[in-house]
């Protein structure tokens, strides 16, 4: 019964904190205590609930539908990540939501969202999956509202996409129910196997498209940056870390259990354009375009949200290869991405908490004041860029190798171009925030408190340890591959076994440490170091003074701006969406004029209706 | 229609194009006659090929310059120079006008009192003339009434008297102000021997 605790506790938490919020605004303290207690219990249960057990809740109003929950390896992998991230976010928010920033329903919606996500993961039948998916979307919508007023407008754009995705999913669920007579995954999978290509394509579209919208794949990614960047920064880490990756879970569960591994390749549409190639093309676009858009952002949170879309492309690419290395790379990348993106966003939140802004053009030199946040961001960007010894490198290596050996050279090149774009934009992030001259106004900035530092230290340790010993996570991934019916990856504790490829992170990290020590010896062989102030700087004979802004932040990559002619600032898809929104606004404006709300207009309408009715009746009778 | 860029535009007397702009280049004699006719200054004479010279009293120089610009066709004020006649107690300001059409330089000399050392500004006719005036103000101390930005731009850190005046003895100033070394046969050993040179025994450390 303990796995059902995973559902009951978040629901109870939601009820309690919702009650607390409505009672009075001042009870943030108790709310925080409830939240921490609730989420720690969830984390413990998630760790404990290892074995696969299923339980069903019988008796429901809708005929033929019995709610079935079950914990598989794949869902346990995601549940563990959700538990970890929610626990860290609550810890961070204990410190961040102090002076003045009180969002009463903050913890309530956090509980609700966790309930929704865990529910989606445990659902073993389509209708439960859909209902909990709805709950999750609405909880996300309300959670996104906690932030600046632009957050409200941005979250409505998320709502539009989420509702569209849910409607398509709902159509898919009903279509499959009529075809197979039941909602249960296994029964549905059996009937889908019998489908000929026509209906198979429709089921694929109806089931996969909502998942791609939810995980912000290329054409449908426009809702993510404004929605994630304007909420409270603690939530941005939570959302960017794990919330979009439920879409990836959906893609995996549908591709490999409902449709079966082989269908992707055999479902060919045209010349030899099968489903696999389409998904890989989408993944390639998702990798490259958002990363280069991130290059030109000058707000730290916007930059990171664009990157979390880009990293989604690696996961999708890995899964789409359907080879043992590729799927392992994709799934492992979900964990790595969760670790280093939330680490980076927590560091940005620490800076925002102290300086009040995340505008990259006005920050600078904060390494002198917030070294812990700097270290967190440094570990995070090394992971995000995929440079050894951090964990991002291992999963990217797996994806590259599967692409190259799978015979997709230009997709591998697209992945590498995305990596280069990431390296450029992450350096701009750390340079504009932490390096360069410290402006006068940030002289009194201090380091953040222990509560906010704890998540940063924990995530730094995770990113480094899973980088040196990827085997810890690859073990779970291999079990998932077995349960999905794929050939598991041959892994060792420190990398990939020689039969499959040359990667031994243990050796790489030890060589890195040894050469670092050798370089340090050479360095200390030179003379003593002489620390000088930042104003003791070369300025071609000019006297550097405090009033002069002696930083290079603005328009950091101007050469790329020339090459791409600002194309990445407002690409065509955005203009298309803008046109749609404008049309919608004009229509609603017209509707607003009809319902004016004054009594006499309604009298006029009813009179006109009566006259019309009389005319028609005369004709008919 | 006042030109927002240059507020002085409206008050500019040179509204209409110079009458004598077109036509062939005139000889020096024709120019002297034209100057006498248009500006009423009689004693402008031929000085050398393409050089005409004459003197103007201080108070009607401004009207002379406006007439030279608009009616005689000398659009270009190439320079204002200053000569210090210390014995006569006067400064002599020389305004050099140039005509593109006639390729001829007309220099108008005018004398102002050395003690008072004030002169009407000409920047309302030629905006760049303010640099000539600031230069003369810096170097000679002549104050140009009406010129608003007369602060230093060559001798920014200078707080001594105007250095180009005859009564300013540069050698004495240099001798007192700067350190220098008397001649010493093995002066280079003193300096290069890795041992500090004579601590300014030469010049006074004043």
């Amino acid at each position: 019964m303990n796995t059902s605790l995973l559902l009951i506790i978040p629901l109870a938490g939601f009820a309690v904190s919702a009650l607390l919020a409505t009672v009075s605004r001042r009870t943030m303290g108790i709310g925080k205590a409830v939240a921490i207690a609730g989420f720690t219990v969830v984390a413990i249960v998630a760790m404990a609930a290892r074995q696969e057990i299923n339980f069903t809740v019988t008796g429901s109003a809708i005929p033929g539908w019995t709610i079935q929950f079950g914990l598989t390896n794949l869902s346990w992998y995601f549940v563990l990540m959700i538990a970890a991230i929610t626990w860290l976010t609550t810890f961070f928010s204990l410190g961040a939501l102090r002076d003045g920033k009180t969002y009463p329903m903050f913890y309530a919606w956090l509980f609700a969202k966790t309930f929704g996500m865990i529910g989606v993961l445990l659902a073993r039948d389509l209708l439960t999956f859909f209902i909990l998916w709805e709950i999750m979307s609405w909880a996300t919508y309300f959670l996104m509202q906690q932030g600046t007023d632009t957050a409200r407008r941005a979250s409505t754009s998320y709502l539009v996409y989420a509702i569209a995705a849910s409607m398509i999913l709902f159509a898919g669920v009903i279509f499959l129910y009529r075809a197979s007579g039941s909602y249960d995954f296994t029964r549905v999978a059996a009937t889908v196997a019998g489908f000929e290509t026509g209906t198979l394509i429709t089921t694929v579209v109806l089931l996969l498209v909502p998942m791609l919208i939810e995980s912000a794949v290329y054409p449908a990614h426009w809702w993510l940056p404004p929605a994630y960047a304007n909420t409270e920064t603690g939530i941005t880490a939570y959302l960017a870390g794990i919330s979009t990756r439920i879409g990836v879970y959906g893609v995996v569960i549908f591709l490999f259990t409902v449709f079966g591994p082989g269908t992707m390749a055999k479902l060919s549409v045209g010349y030899h354009l099968n489903l696999q190639v389409i998904i890989m093309a989408l993944a390639a676009f998702t990798m490259v375009v958002p990363t280069f858009t991130a290059l030109f952002q000058h707000d730290a949170k916007q930059l990171m949200t664009w990157h979390s879309i880009g990293q989604g492309g690696y996961m999708l690419m890995g899964i789409a290869t359907a080879s043992s290395l590729g799927v392992a790379g994709g799934l492992f990348h979900v964990f790595n991405h969760m670790a280093y993106v939330s680490l980076i966003v927590f560091s940005i939140a620490a800076v925002e908490y102290r300086t009040g802004t995340t505008n990259l053009n006005s920050l600078g030199g904060l390494i002198k004041k917030q070294p812990v946040a700097f270290l967190g961001l440094l570990f995070g960007i090394i992971g995000l860029a995929g440079i050894p010894p951090m964990n991002g490198f291992v999963s990217k290596w797996l994806v590259y190798r599967s692409l190259i050996l799978g015979g997709y050279p230009f997709l591998a090149l697209a992945a590498f171009i995305a990596t280069l774009g990431t390296i450029l934009s992450v350096y701009k992030l750390i340079h504009n925030m932490f390096l360069g001259q410290l402006p006068e106004r940030y002289n009194e900035v201090k380091e953040v408190g222990f509560l906010m530092q704890l998540p940063i230290w924990i995530l730094m340790a995770t990113v480094l340890v899973t980088g040196i010993f990827p085997g810890l996570i690859l073990g779970w991934v291999a079990q998932i591959q077995i349960s999905l019916g794929l050939e598991p990856i041959a892994y060792t504790l420190t990398g990939v076994s020689p039969t499959v490829g040359q990667l031994n992170m243990g050796v790489i990290t030890s060589v890195f440490a040894a050469t670092f020590v050798l370089a340090a010896l050479i360095f200390f062989a030179g003379g003593r170091r002489r620390h000088v102030s930042q104003y003791n700087n070369y300025a071609a004979g000019h006297f550097v003074t405090k009033e002069v802004k002696y930083n290079f932040n603005y328009n950091f990559y101007s050469a790329f701006d020339h090459i791409f002619e600002h194309r990445f600032h407002n690409p065509p898809v955005k203009r298309g969406e803008g046109a749609l929104v404008a049309l919608l606004e004009r229509a609603s404006e017209f509707a607003r004029r009809i319902y004016t709300g004054r009594l006499n207009t309604y009298l006029a309408y009813s009179l006109a209706a009566v006259v019309l009715a009389v005319v028609i009746l005369k004709e008919v009778l | 229609m006042s030109n927002t860029l240059n507020p002085r535009e409206t008050a500019d007397p040179r509204q209409k194009r110079p009458a004598a702009a077109a036509g062939p280049a005139r000889t020096e004699e024709e120019l002297t006659r034209a100057i006498a006719a248009e500006t009423g200054a009689a004693d402008f004479t031929y000085k050398s090929p393409r050089r005409v010279e004459g003197s103007i009293p201080e108070q009607d120089l401004h009207s002379f310059a406006a007439a030279m610009y608009s009616r005689v066709g000398f659009e270009h004020l190439s320079a204002i120079s200053c000569v210090d006649w210390i014995n006569d107690g006067e400064f002599e300001l020389v305004y050099h006008f140039w005509s593109y059409r006639d390729n001829c330089l007309v220099s108008a000399h005018t004398r102002i009192d050395r003690a008072a050392a004030t002169m009407a500004t000409i920047t309302d006719l030629w905006q760049p003339a303010s640099f000539f005036e600031r230069d003369i103000h810096e170097m000679f101390g002549v104050v140009f009434a009406g010129n608003t930005d007369l602060e230093k731009y060559i001798l920014t850190d200078w707080d001594g008297p105007p250095p180009m005046r005859k009564d300013f003895v540069t050698r004495k100033f240099a001798h007192e102000h700067f350190h220098y070394k008397d001649y010493e046969p093995d002066w280079d050993e003193l300096v290069q021997g890795g041992y500090h040179s004579n601590r300014g025994e030469g010049g006074t450390n004043g």
Partner: protein, 306 residues
């Protein structure tokens, strides 16, 4: 490529290898300055001038530092380059090459540039930041064609390990060299190498007249010495990577050094006669000429003719 060495021989190689690479790098650097001087009909400095420069820099009495990150970054810079060295197979020392393939090397090469970027950022000088922005944009410029050439070679030989690539190229003597089997990839890689080694016309990073030697503006004393050491070892690393990929690696050190100097002479002769591209023109060149060439080569491989 003789058998994998073990025991004492391995320990000796591990200790001696960086110093061998540094010495070869010094001679290459000295040769480079002598070659450029002779191009300009000058006598030119001594053959080991970089060695004197490094000695002078390391013995400077003042070493201006702008913070601990500035120091750590210099260690990361030299440490990163020496680390990349160990994973490149060279005649007689291939022990570490079996633990990291070319993808590992492609990422390890980024560690020194990231280290330099962090160090230069810490010195809080806008000239340095502009230099680093240019360096990273140039990196994106030349890295794309170079990696595509590697992807082509890896797909052709079915392996991403540089050790296997060298073994395959040496199996048939000169006929199976990478540049002979697919010349398009070889030529594209040489152009990308010109950018990777920061030789003119791709030297916009340290443009002395515009941004006061870019990243090196605030580096003095032993900090500049560390950058020189990294640059010299980098000469060895980058030329050896190209040789292992396209010129069939080397059976003995004489062959390796001869190939390195020939390749370096080619790059120096281009460096000696060219001006300096602007950053966006340099990146455009890299994406207009070597990239399509490499793409053509890869398509050739995919269609089986390559």
């Amino acid at each position: 490529m003789n058998s994998v060495n073990t025991g004492i021989q391995l320990v000796v190689w591990i200790i001696a290898y960086p110093f061998i690479a540094f010495t070869v790098g010094v001679f290459m650097g000295g040769y480079g300055r002598k070659f450029t001087a002779r191009l300009q009909r000058r006598v030119g400095p001594s053959w080991v001038q970089p060695f004197f420069d490094v000695i002078k820099l390391m013995r400077k009495r003042t070493n201006i530092s702008h913070g601990y990150m500035h120091d750590v970054a210099m260690m990361m810079l030299v440490g990163g380059t020496i680390m990349t060295l160990y994973f490149i197979p060279v005649p007689g020392f291939t022990y570490f090459a079996q633990y990291g393939d070319f993808l590992v090397i492609a990422y390890l090469i980024l560690v020194p540039s990231l280290g330099m970027a962090l160090g230069v950022g810490e010195t809080a000088n806008p000239n340095g930041s502009i230099g680093i922005a240019r360096a990273l944009q140039m990196l994106a410029g030349y890295e794309v064609p170079f990696v595509l050439t590697f992807i082509g070679m890896a797909m052709l030989n079915g392996t991403t390990s540089m050790l296997d690539l060298v073994r395959i190229q040496q199996s048939g003597g000169m006929a199976t060299w990478g540049i002979v089997t697919n010349p398009l990839l070889g030529i594209a890689a040489v152009m990308a190498l010109q950018g990777m080694m920061n030789e003119k016309p791709f030297e916009v990073i340290v443009a002395p007249h515009e941004i006061a030697t870019g990243p090196m503006t605030e580096m003095g004393g032993k900090y500049l010495g560390m950058m020189f050491i990294q640059h010299l070892i980098n000469l060895f690393v980058e030329t050896t990577i190209y040789i292992n990929l396209f010129l069939g690696g080397a059976q003995n050190w004489v062959e390796l050094i001869v190939k390195q100097f020939i390749l370096f002479t080619l790059i120096l002769s281009v460096n000696g006669v060219f001006g300096r591209f602007r950053t966006d023109d340099a990146v455009r060149f890299m994406w207009k000429v070597p990239l399509p060439l490499a793409a053509l080569g890869v398509v050739g491989i995919m269609l089986g003719i390559g």
